[in-house]
Amino acid sequence: METALGYMFLAGAFALIVSMALMLARLIGGPTLYDRLLAVNSFGTKTVLFLCVFCFIIDRPDGVDIALLYALMNFIATIAVLKFFNYRALDVNLNRVSVKGEDA
């Protein structure tokens, strides 16, 4: 059973890599900038999943921290790139309510 489990997760990791490679095709060929961003974002999600599965295969639970970090960084990177391409600058306040954040 142990080896069956190992092969199962290996197959899962391989399938994730295949799907990441297919996503790269959309990243390279995507007609618009937003297609590319979508592909990058989806690629990041798959990277998180791959990291989780891979840490399981090599039996090191610490690696899940890295997956957690990657999920957060993926979000920040997407927002930063989007903001840069929409406003051509990072110094824009996206918050139209007061900084206090109380509900208007």
Binding site: L69, I76, Y87, D91, V92, L94, N95, R96
Partner: protein, 146 residues
């Protein structure tokens, strides 16, 4: 009031404390798992950068003033170097932590904590300084140029 970025604001506010706490977790668990001062500094800076991305650079500079950045960059290096000098004064070699406490292993623990704290402060403030420098750049191209 028309506010198209409601969702980004709410979710980012939810995430900022968690990212900061995660940074400090990475900082203090450097000897149990992957992590350490450098990575923690980058993650802590990322939480400030997320705040700056959503609320603008001015609000970020109010929350985390540039003067803190300048002070932090020096304090971090001083902490690192100062630990070395203290071990030197206590009779060991430069950065030989064993002399910091009565027991060698305790001394090494405290020494590593101090040095990693120095790395954390320096890396955080340098990352934020780089972001402030990049973020203050005004767009050179017009909206119609591209």
């Amino acid at each position: 009031m028309h506010d198209p970025h409601v969702l980004l604001r709410v979710i980012s506010k939810f995430l900022i404390p968690i990212i900061a706490l995660f940074a400090l977790y990475v900082q203090f668990h450097g000897d149990y798992g992957p992590g350490g001062g450098f990575q923690a500094g980058v993650i802590l800076a990322a939480s400030v950068i997320l705040y700056a991305l959503i609320f603008g650079l001015d609000a970020a500079k109010k929350a985390f003033p540039p003067s803190w950045v300048r002070i932090g960059m020096t304090i971090g290096v001083l902490l690192y170097g100062g630990t070395g000098v203290v071990t030197w004064l206590l009779g060991g070699e430069y950065l030989n932590y064993s002399v910091l406490a009565h027991e060698a292993s305790h001394g090494q623990h405290y020494g590593i904590l101090a040095v990693e704290l120095g790395v954390l402060v320096t890396v955080t403030t340098v990352m934020i300084a780089i972001f402030y420098a990049f973020g203050s750049r005004q767009p050179e191209t017009d909206e119609r140029d591209w």
